[in-house]
């Protein structure tokens, strides 16, 4: 498994291949489509991330001191984004995640390419991932 830094760099590298929004969107859509199926039973209000335009669910389990995320969204681009996030952060320790600054999001230009409402959704997703990590640091 890649280190957290390696995983982030891989995402930055992937995105830097695309100059065009169209390609970036296609990449995100691809990511979204390939996300592992999320059990219907987990689509609870508790797992719903507040502040996103479309519905986004995030669930997790802790195994051997590492957090494994799963997620879903009814919008595919959003699903691509959450997929990208959990691809980077899933399987990390709570401490690793809690201490990360999530700054690589800015480097891939995701924020600018998406609307603030959507960016707010992104912020909400990040906040939720952080909260889960902090919860499990205790």
């Amino acid at each position: 498994m890649k280190t957290l830094e390696e995983a982030k760099q891989a995402v930055i590298d992937d995105f830097s291949m695309y100059d065009e929004w169209l390609d970036k969107y296609e990449y995100l859509i691809e990511l979204g489509k390939n996300l592992e199926p999320f059990p219907e039973a987990s689509k609870t209000d508790d797992n719903l991330i507040k502040g996103c335009q479309s519905r986004v669910w995030l669930d997790y389990k802790v195994e051997n001191g590492r957090i494994y995320f799963s997620a879903d969204s009814d919008a595919i681009i959003t699903k691509g984004i959450i997929s990208l996030l959990i691809g980077v952060y899933s399987g990390r320790t709570p401490q690793e995640i809690a201490h990360d600054d999530f700054g690589f999001i800015n480097e891939i230009g995701l924020k600018e390419n998406l609307s603030p409402t959507r960016a707010n959704g992104l912020v909400s997703m990040i906040d939720t991932i952080k909260a889960v990590a902090l919860e499990n640091c205790k």
Binding site: W21, Y25, I29, Q53, S54, A75, I76, I77
Partner: protein
């Protein structure tokens, strides 16, 4: 099927009057298809606002100095223009507000405080905007009154037969929109008014969309209240109108207190001003409300027969394309094309409305996705949202064609 492009010239002339339309987004020409949310402002409205701010910028009515006098004239002559535009019986029946939502909340509070008691009933429809639902819900909650709902059928039409049977002796008010901002269907408002009045019940008509696409003659239609926003009809934002019949407005308690809505203020008891001041508390929107004058002029121009014909040809083209595509489910299916305005909300099989909106945006097309402040009608159709395009007379056939092409491309990316 062939759609003729009428008046190519004229639409370009109209476009030239709206500075915002010549913008580019992401380097592409802006295709503004979110007019039901807010319209663009013509140069005449911009000029009027600037003139007001650089010249007669003063607080109105009470002061005797020159600027205040001019400002008062600007403001009060706007009332006369609105009166003519909606054909109100008298100028006192025209109340300026900050928008449709404020107008409806005014009635919900003031009519509510004056006439609504425990057990009374208010009727709205299933296809109302939140602004014509929530104020009534809040009122009903406060007064322990009952909110009843006119259902719509699969095509989006109000079920008038059910409506006719909903009245009881406790039905005190009906609030129904002239045109739904989701379905784009023109409700038979005159018939609805007649049904209300034959049940001795007054009716508020939400004209937020109606004023733009249909206009209104409040004396002919005979509705008791009519609400609309300036920003959807080319005026500056923060402006709005409530029309109300004198007989109601005179009896109703005021909504907001303060400013000039009073006759005398004493701690032993305050008396209120006569109409329309009674309902215009606080400093009026002195800079923006008078932009309703050039806005109304523009709206009149848009009602020109040729302009309408062109706009209808664009509407017919879109209606045809969107209904011909098997992947697309249109909400608000007209029985005759003239029962629908150039506003289309739809779902695409396998593609989320928000994904579509994001991709279309990148192609320069401004559309709306989501619930459009009308969650009950979303629930009615069992969807979490829709994609909506809403056109104005300054939108062209070319834009419509580009939209259809772009939509196809977006769908192919997603499905």
């Amino acid at each position: 099927m062939k759609f003729e492009i009428l008046l190519k010239m004229n639409v370009e002339d109209i476009r030239a009057l709206f500075p915002a339309l010549s913008q580019k987004v992401y380097g592409k020409p802006l295709v503004y298809f979110d007019n039901a949310a807010t319209a663009q402002r013509p140069q005449s409205v911009i000029d009027a606002w600037e003139r007001l701010v650089k010249g007669p910028n003063a607080n109105i009515h009470r002061a005797v100095h020159h600027l205040a006098v001019e400002a008062t004239d600007e403001y009060e002559s706007t009332r006369d223009e609105v009166q003519k535009f909606i054909n109100a019986g008298s100028r006192e029946e025209v109340i300026f507000t900050s928008g449709t939502t404020a107008s409806i909340n005014l009635v919900a509070f003031s009519f509510g405080e004056t006439y609504i008691h425990e057990g009374d009933e208010i009727i709205v429809s299933e296809s109302e905007h939140h602004s014509n639902i929530v104020p009534w819900q809040m009122l009903c909650q406060r007064k322990k009154a009952v909110l009843k709902v006119i259902p719509v059928d699969e095509d989006g039409y109000l079920k008038l037969d059910e409506f006719r049977n909903m009245f009881t002796a406790r039905t005190k008010l009906v609030a129904v929109t002239q045109i739904s901002n989701v379905l784009g269907l023109i409700n038979p408002i005159k018939e609805i008014v007649n049904i209300c009045h034959s049940n001795n019940c007054p009716i508020l008509t939400d004209g937020a969309q109606g004023i733009v696409h249909e206009g209104i003659d409040v004396q002919d239609i005979d509705c008791d209240f009519y609400a609309f926003s300036g920003h959807k009809i080319y005026a500056a934002s923060g402006t709005g109108v409530l029309y109300g019949k004198k007989r109601w407005l005179e009896e109703m308690l005021p909504w907001q207190g303060g400013g000039e809505m009073i006759d005398h203020v004493r701690f032993s008891g305050t008396t209120y001003a006569s109409l329309p001041e009674k309902f215009e508390a606080g400093t009026q929107n002195i800079n923006a409300t008078p932009t309703l004058k050039p806005a109304i002029e523009m709206a009149r121009m848009m009602k020109d027969k040729d302009v309408q014909a062109y706009q209808n040809s664009v509407r017919d083209y879109l209606l045809h394309e969107l209904t011909a595509d098997g992947r697309i489910q249109l909400f608000g299916v007209p029985h005759g094309t003239d029962e629908k305005i150039s506003l289309f909300s739809f779902a695409v099989q396998g593609a989320h409305h928000e994904d579509l909106a994001l991709i279309l945006d990148k192609m320069g097309i401004a559309t709306r996705s989501g619930q459009m402040c009308a969650e009950p009608i979303m629930d009615r159709y069992g969807v979490t949202g829709m994609l909506r395009i809403s056109l104005a007379p300054y939108n062209t056939m070319e834009e419509a064609e580009y939209f259809i092409k772009s939509l196809n491309k977006a769908i192919s990316m997603l499905v």
